[in-house]
Amino acid sequence: MDINLNFIYGHLPYWLFIILMLSGLFIVVSRGNLIKKIVGLNIFQTSVFMFYISIGKMKGGTAPILLEKSANSSAVIYSNPLPHVLILTAIVVGIATTALGLALIIKIREEYDTVEEDDIQKMDQKDLKKYNKKNVLETNS
């Protein structure tokens, strides 16, 4: 494979989308706040969408809306409509999952009184210890 300027220029968009996606991933993995995690997930998702759309793009093409009813489509270049359809569906599903995640966050906050992952884990471990102690006592008696 020859790596020249043309190759780099042609692949730069993909690499930018990958960097964006990685920053979303990093927010999800490294930050403890649950709302921030959802924001990171959204960034991740949108960059994947951009990547898909970039696959369907043609140089000098236009949006896949037919210009003239009688005109033959060979005269005008249209970008590939299939990724667009796929991503339209994905965006709507994405907002559905986001809504569900946010509802879960509200529920978690109600139960634990915090939305920080570290605090939640600490409380869980405390509860677990208490539970284990109780069980040990019961089995002994």
Partner: protein, 169 residues
């Protein structure tokens, strides 16, 4: 570039209000990018759903929970390593891809042009994306509405449980 800046700012800021607003701005800028890449329908949806609805939902969640993020004390090295590994693998994967915007890439050669030529004959709608979404992939779209319905039901069930619990206490 703007998008990368926004993502990094969302990473470092602590006030959740600012983070959520940045997320909305991110969606809006990405909608512009979709227009540049000829995906007007996607841009439309992204601007309405990503920048509008999801920002409102997040703001509502923030209002119901907390406004400021706590300092995280966990080590940063492990996430960084994971992210770098994934990045290297993905960039390695793109090396085999055709250049951005080429005509003869495998993605462009088969179905896309077929749909472009038959959609108007079959349906008489000039917008090919709408044609495919509503007709050729009608069942897919039906499934999508089922997903949205399920999510809505889930949200309602989760949040209605809240009030019942409060009443009991």
């Amino acid at each position: 570039m703007v998008l990368v800046t926004i993502a990094i700012m969302a990473l470092t800021l602590k006030h959740l209000f600012a983070v959520i607003m940045l997320s909305g701005a991110f969606s809006l800028v990405s909608a512009m990018l979709f227009v540049v890449m000829d995906a007007v329908d996607v841009a439309f949806t992204e601007a309405a759903v990503g920048a509008g609805v999801s920002t409102v939902l997040m703001l509502a969640t923030m209002a119901l929970t907390v406004r400021v993020q706590k300092e995280t004390k966990r080590p940063i090295i492990f996430p960084l390593a994971v992210v770098c590994l994934v990045g290297v693998l993905l960039i390695y994967g793109t090396l085999d891809m055709p250049n951005f915007g080429t005509f003869d890439s495998p993605a462009q050669l088969h179905l896309g042009s077929t749909y472009l030529s038959i959609t108007y004959k079959d349906m008489g709608i000039p917008n090919v994306v709408t044609g495919i979404l509503a007709s050729y992939r009608g069942y897919d779209t039906l499934g999508e509405t089922v997903v949205v319905l399920t999510a809505g039901l889930g949200v309602i069930l989760l949040l209605s449980g809240l009030k019942g619990r409060k009443d009991k206490e």
